[in-house]
């Protein structure tokens, strides 16, 4: 459709209503979700409802000073994001504008493209002129950062065809690097820049079962509640329970190729932290700064509400784009609740009949559809061997009133995501971080993918992984149960053996589940060290001596202290040996901290 001009007849906050008649009284056609430019400032908007001769638009920017009668341009296309070399390491707003391009304050109606138009990239073709290609096929590469080779693909919405005149050398993203002679007889210019509508999931050849586990470095996730590569997880938690810290830790330590981090309607300060930290923080595996594998989308709580939706959609689109190159991508979103609340605001303005707590009836379906963009796939393309890529989605939720059970978006996320990592106020107040509640969290993958997990851990030479997890988890559950009894009956009310089991569960909580994000060794645990640690914990449970309650408690306190110190050290094996020896050696040594 071509561009059309219409006029505003109503403005209510970020809802703008236009008449679908031109000045001559003729009907003006319009498309659902059409991108529009509103008023003299060309504020970005989108058609979200059409009723007879009126269309409702959500405006992605502040509508101050808009007037009835102002002109609106219907662009004829859906809202798209541009993608290509230069995405990695950049900081974009919820609509894909490059934030570094603006001054101290964000002006309205000014679009700054995500990709630098001047910068030249070294394009190395991987196909020759004359070769047959299909959508998704890789035709060349660019070394985008030390960590990421950006694959240039035939855009997914182009036809099959033949490559003509492919070049080699330094080009900007808008330069023509080759031409495609399509099956349809038309010729298409191929550039490094391509666009995709943010509401449409990018296609894949095939969606696959998940077979591999994501190594996050966080023990309570990797051990108790594994997330599969290509899987989904949600992190609901009241404020102050460490939700954002968890997202940051995942962005830092997860072993994936690309991290897409979406700050959706949350504090600016947190995003500033990432922006300042990631260029400096070094990924221990590659020795390179984390910024070289990260794309940041920043929509802060003070920014217009509709752009929250933009941010989670552009995040998913960019994640899929890197997935299509054959990479493992982690999409982190903080927080999905803000998008749900944004939907609620708009729904109210549209006068829709509200569901629970005024959230719209379609919210659940919307969140499910968004989570479903995650997955492990065979990427599009027909050349060479099959390419596998994955996008794992982990979304934080901020329940209103801290009420996890009663908050509709949180419940929707828990139902949809396969892993629920629930943060506990109690553990956070006790300064036990990460404050995931070991009894409330669950990973459905443990039930549904047990065999796949077992096989996978065997391949990695951790054959007893799942058994260890089961034992350690049992110890926590057991300990909590006994603690509940003790709260009622007092310490004297329970037997020595039970007291011992309570103490063991407590060790697991304080020394295994508790992880110090500020310590360079403890903050992230690789799978091999994690395996050793579990083996050690289980050994400890077997040999922890039965004694009088007082003595056991003293011994336990020392043990917790020493294990935590071991967690802080690089050479954990020596520390473990020391601890085990001290137990075998009886009461001669007292933990060595005097």
């Amino acid at each position: 459709m071509k561009e059309r001009k219409v006029k505003i007849i109503m403005v209510d906050d970020n809802l703008v209503v236009v008449t679908l008649k031109d000045d001559g009284g003729n009907d003006v056609p319009c498309m659902m979700n059409e991108e529009s430019f509103i008023g003299g400032l060309h504020l970005r908007g989108e058609v979200i409802r059409v009723r007879g001769n009126e269309a409702d638009l959500q405006c992605y920017e502040d509508t101050t000073e808009l007037m009835v009668g102002d002109e609106v341009t219907l662009s004829g296309s859906l809202i798209q994001i541009e993608m290509g070399p230069g995405l990695v390491g950049s900081t974009l707003d919820g609509l894909g504008n490059k934030l570094e391009g603006y001054g101290d304050f964000l002006p309205r109606g000014v679009m700054i493209p995500a990709l630098d138009r001047e910068k030249k990239w070294k394009f190395k073709p991987t196909v020759k002129s004359g070769e047959e290609v299909a959508p998704g096929d890789i035709i060349g590469e660019v070394d985008e950062t030390e960590l990421v080779v950006h694959k240039i693909m035939i855009p997914a919405d182009y036809p099959k065809g033949k490559i003509i005149d492919i070049k080699d050398g330094d080009f900007t993203v808008e330069d023509k690097i080759a031409e495609l002679e399509g099956e349809d007889g038309k010729k298409y210019d191929l550039k490094m820049l391509q666009r995709w509508p943010i509401r449409r999931p990018r296609p894949a050849k095939k969606r696959l079962q998940l077979t591999d586990v994501l190594n996050t470095g966080i023990r309570i996730i990797d051990g108790f509640n594994p997330v599969m590569l290509g899987g989904t997880a949600c992190v609901p938690g009241d404020f102050g329970t460490g939700k954002t810290m968890c997202q940051h830790d995942l962005a830092r330590h997860s072993r994936v190729k690309i991290v897409v981090y979406v700050g959706c309607g949350e504090r600016a300060g947190e995003m500033v932290e990432l922006m300042h930290e990631f260029p400096k923080l070094i990924d221990p595996d590659s020795g390179r700064p984390l910024v070289e594998r990260t794309v940041l989308f920043v929509n802060t709580s003070a920014m217009p509400v509709a752009a929250r939706e933009g941010s989670i959609l552009v995040g998913a689109t960019v994640g899929e784009y890197f997935r299509d190159m054959g990479y493992d991508v982690l999409l982190l979103t903080d927080s999905l609740s803000r998008q749900a609340q944004g939907m609620r605001e708009m729904s109210g303005r549209l006068g829709e009949i509200p569901g629970p707590q005024a959230f719209p009836a379609y919210m659940n379906a919307y969140l499910t559809r968004w989570f479903e963009r995650a997955g492990r796939v065979v990427c599009c393309g027909e050349m060479g061997e099959e390419r596998f890529g994955s996008m794992t989605t982990i979304a934080a939720l901020s329940p209103d009133g801290g009420d996890i059970a009663g908050d509709p978006p949180t419940q929707a996320a828990i139902q949809t995501a396969k892993v629920a990592l629930i943060l506990s106020r109690k553990r956070a107040s006790a300064r036990l971080f990460p404050a995931f509640d070991p009894l409330e969290c669950h990973s459905k993958y443990l039930d549904t993918s047990t065999e796949v997990l077992q096989k996978q851990f065997e391949e990695r030479k951790f054959p007893l992984w799942l058994d260890y997890v089961k034992k350690i988890k049992h110890s926590v559950v057991d300990g909590e149960r006994i603690k509940e009894q003790m709260d009622i009956l007092g310490e004297k009310g329970i037997g020595g053996q039970e007291y011992r089991r309570y103490l063991l569960g407590d060790i697991v909580q304080k020394a295994y589940l508790n992880q110090n994000t500020f310590d360079e060794h403890d903050r992230s645990t690789k799978l091999d060290r994690h395996y050793e640690m579990m083996r050690f914990m289980i050994h400890l449970m077997d040999i922890f001596p039965t004694d009088e309650k007082q003595a056991m408690r003293r011994a336990q306190e020392d043990l917790v202290f020493n294990i935590v110190q071991a967690n802080y050290s690089e050479d954990y094996k020596t520390e473990y040996d020391k601890i085990l020896k001290s137990i075998h050696g009886g009461e001669k040594e007292n933990g060595g901290n005097n």
């Binding site: 000073e65 102050g240 504090r267 920043v298 802060t300 003070a302 009133g401 007092g490 020392d558 802080y568």
Partner: protein, 434 residues
């Protein structure tokens, strides 16, 4: 372009409708001659919906309306503005003439996140629970939660009086009062007059229109932002943000919007965020805006929707009970940026150890109260620690330097045997000396 319209078509609470209007923009300021001011909140065809800042008591259907062609603005001048008192419309309420200066928007544009600097430097209040355990970083936003029956005015006054930025002269305080009682107004006016050269006040009284309250936080932030841009470090203290939320509910309901939780409007989060997110550290030669918002919490229930959303927006919380901070529920999210980096290296470990020991002691005290006898010597040490901590560390009525606060922490922790203190060995060995 000023056009005057006659007649008000509809009066619905504070929302007034004028018909037959053209050429008026969203958010525009409207003057109701002889009555007050209003802000355009919705335009439908030729009907304009205005939110009257003075409410609607006594509005006549023949009231004239003059649209000013621009959103609300304030005159600002970095020197003339000091020591002045304004009302909820930004007009002087101290009987002195209007300021001559450049006009700045009350609700300005959003700060570009990529131009924000990391929080840096801290605001010393002299209160150990804040400076030691919950250090407030420049550019931070943090609420003080209080029970409705609790009086935190003394604490707020103490913060206004004692607040300082280590090594910085260019520090000022902007005080915002929402629905202040007359005696509160007089109290705070006296506190602020003590340091008129570095303070600004913007106050809406309890006897005045609640709708005006919606402007007060933004006026405070607009002044603070301007000062920060020219290198000042500004502390904005606003009391009480619950009244802001209540005013918002009133306006929202009058417009027929569907309430979300507890009757508050669905955009409460976004509206509160628009205020608190104006806290900023510009970095370099320029200054910062730090916001402390006092927020009443009905029923002492921190899950109350206003407190809860504030918790999500702000960077920590400082609940007050019986004249002191409830240390177990206090949190400053940004303290890690300065603790141990700009302060003594033992700052983090000793404060964490104190709080964690206090938590443990509270658990024991609970058991004791339930009738279990506490006989273990370590447990008894914990209980003693708790008593001392409560009487010497927690009271807000103090003015200690940060190092004095840390030394006090070490003095108290020595009540406990060394081996139960969860502090890295090197630090413990250096400072415990017990």
């Amino acid at each position: 372009m000023k056009v005057v319209y006659c007649d008000i078509e509809n009066i619905d609470g504070p929302i007034l409708q004028v018909k037959g209007v053209t050429g008026v923009g969203m958010g525009e300021e409207a003057l109701l001659p002889g009555y007050g001011y209003a802000k355009v909140v919705k335009i439908h065809g030729d009907t304009v919906y205005m939110q009257s800042l003075q409410g609607s008591l006594g509005v006549q259907t023949t009231q004239k309306t003059e649209f000013m062609g621009k959103p609300f603005e304030l005159p600002f001048h970095p020197e003339y503005v000091m020591g002045r008192i304004f009302d909820g419309i930004g007009k002087p309420r101290d009987g002195r003439p209007e300021i001559q200066g450049k006009m700045v928007p009350v609700e300005g544009p959003v700060v570009n996140p990529s131009r924000r600097a990391m929080g840096q430097g801290y605001i010393e209040t002299g209160i150990p629970s804040i400076d030691g355990a919950n250090t407030i970083v420049r550019g931070q936003k943090i609420p003080i939660y209080k029970l409705p029956g609790e009086d935190v005015n003394n604490i707020v006054a103490r913060i206004i009086r004692q607040a300082r930025v280590a090594g910085q002269e260019n520090f000022s305080v902007v005080f915002g009062g929402l629905g202040l009682l007359n005696e509160e107004y007089i109290f705070f006016r006296e506190v602020l007059e003590e340091a008129a050269e570095r303070t600004i006040m913007c106050v809406n009284l309890g006897s005045e229109s609640p709708i005006e309250r919606l402007n007060v936080p933004h006026i405070c932030c607009a002044f603070a932002e301007q000062l920060a841009l020219i290198g000042q470090h500004v502390l904005v203290v606003i009391t009480d943000m619950l009244r802001y939320a209540d005013a918002l509910m009133e306006v929202s309901n009058a417009q027929g919007k569907i309430p979300s939780r507890d009757g508050y409007p669905g955009d409460l989060y976004s509206r509160l965020a628009r205020i608190y997110e104006r806290a900023v550290n510009f970095g370099g030669e320029r200054g910062s805006v730090t916001i402390i918002g006092v927020n009443s919490v009905p029923d002492n229930d921190l899950s109350h929707i206003v407190a809860n959303l504030t918790g999500y927006i702000t960077e920590g919380q400082l609940p007050v009970e019986r004249g002191g901070f409830v240390i177990m529920k206090c949190l400053s999210r940004l303290k890690g940026l300065v603790v141990g980096k700009e302060t003594r290296s033992d700052h983090g470990p000793i404060m964490d150890a104190c709080v964690s020991a206090y938590a443990n002691a509270l658990g024991l005290r609970e058991q004791k109260e339930m009738g279990f006898s506490i006989t273990d010597e370590v447990d008894l040490a914990y209980l003693k620690f708790a008593d001392e901590f409560e009487s010497r560390f927690l009271p807000a009525s103090q003015n200690l330097s940060l190092n004095e606060t840390l030394d006090l922490g070490w003095e108290l922790i020595r009540i406990l045997p060394k081996r139960v203190i969860r502090i890295k060995k090197e630090v413990l060995d250096e400072y415990y000396k017990g």
